[in-house]
Amino acid sequence: MNIFSLAGKNLARHRIRTILTMLGVGIAAATLFSILSFEVGYDQALKEEIEGSGIHLFVSTEGCPLEAASLILHGGEIPKFLTMERFRQVKSAEGVKEAAGFLIFSLTSPEGDKVDLFYGITDEALKLKPNWKVQGTWFRDENSIILGSEVAKVEKREVGDKIYIETLDLDFEVVGILEQTYGQDDGFYFLPLETAQKLFKKENKLTAVGVQLADLFQLQSVKDRLETLPDVYVVTAEQINQEIMRFIGGSKALMYSMLLIALALSTLGVLNTVLMATLERQQEFGYMRCIGAGKKDLIILILVETAAVCLIGWAIGVVGGFVFSSFAENWIRQFLAYVPAGHLLRPNTQVVSTSLALTMALGLMAAIYPAFKASRVSPVEAIRND
């Protein structure tokens, strides 16, 4: 027998209480694990999305950078448009390697129960969206349509099928289906740019332009050059990244507040359990002092008991965090104003080790007072017969 098996036997004395405390720690650990995974995952997903787009500069009509990012990366509708002439000026500007124009529109069904999102694009979009994988072919004619994976699933359409779009009152041929991107692109109908401009009566108009540079070192000079064009607003990918991070800062603060509450409750739960278990065993500790336990031994015993509760609670939390990660991800998505494509929760070894270290540190902190109290028990207490 050793101090660890003794601690284990002590914990087994009040099984329900021990299990409930472990579950409390587990919930806090799962929250911690999920939020740390989100912290890593969101930043990575955003970086990947912006880097993956191959777009170095975003050009739109005047507005905020977030609007520009949202427009090009996910779609969106604002009642201001760039002209094709402006697009050509952007494309031919010195230092611009590639540029792609987008027209984005939404239509609500007459019953008001469905909103169709349309994305008018050209072949150049493929160069700026290298992550896209299209099953089937690219647009063959003005009646071709490419469906986002979610749209294809809802409409039960496959490559080669015809599709009637009620909001447009038109038939199209599904020439391609975009493989799942886990982003908003999955919910779009993609049309040839000219078709979209004609259908929405926005000939010669674009919602935004994505720009790829020949040389990234020329970023500032190209930006300055493009900004001399009238009614043009230019932002860099980095600015967008920063703006988005600033924009979701409030949501992150809310999540961290929830985390703090969960950790505080869990710490108080541990303190309550350990303190109760300590106060119940005053005489026992006194007796242990009589048979050779030093103050240090009793402190170690309490800390080992607490560490075991926290370790098992943490393991429950991490396993729970993994198992329910998709649920947690969907839940977190609801609170965010901007959600990049790809997984938002990306646990790694650092997340696992940080959550373990924090759980153990808080748990052991909660055990300091009870452990100190146990060590102060006088052995005289054990010998009293009253």
Binding site: M1, M288, I291, G292, D297, S378, V380, A382, I383
Partner: protein, 223 residues
Amino acid sequence: MTKIIELLNVGKNYRRGNEEIHALSDVSLEARTGQFLAIVGPSGSGKTTLLQQIGCVDLPTSGRILIDGEDVTKLSDSQLTHFRSRTIGFVFQRFFLLPTLTALENVKLPCVFTKHNAHQTKADELLKHLGLGDRLHHRPSQLSGGEMQRVAIARALVNQPRILLADEPTGNLDSSSAHSIISIFRELNESGLTVLMVTHNMELASMAQQILYLKDGRITKVE
């Protein structure tokens, strides 16, 4: 035989509210190795307080206590803990067995703190010697009072102490179990162990070589 316990003018005072209690006053006594001493006296006479001083779990207000030649009043808390664990074994009226541990584990418990792993192997042997060979893996709730006290005795002996202190060891037992415990104490004493026992039970006290009568914190008679 050498002196193993020596108390010189020991006094112990403590406060209860505003009142100063003189639990022990000018107590001097000595015991030699292998001796069996009984301390008797009415409730509140200071028997348990005296046992606490000899057991090094409390320090006197005045006087000196020498155990096995060591002046324990000069030892620090950690030195006292160490000294206690290797010199003194305790048996109490209320057994103090941990409910989640088996009889065998309860006996091994002191070794967890003293780190004497070699002594852990003695636990099994001790329990068998005390007639609990078939109760090794029983929990206290599955044992009778007499059996629990025998487990407590085995636990007191596992670190091979030089002195066994017992505080009303038969106080919670029926007469048959009490006789069995008395026999064990006698046998342990005959094997050379110094035994000092606090009791109300005169039958138990009568088997001691020396009986100290305590009243109002003073030794009034020695037989």
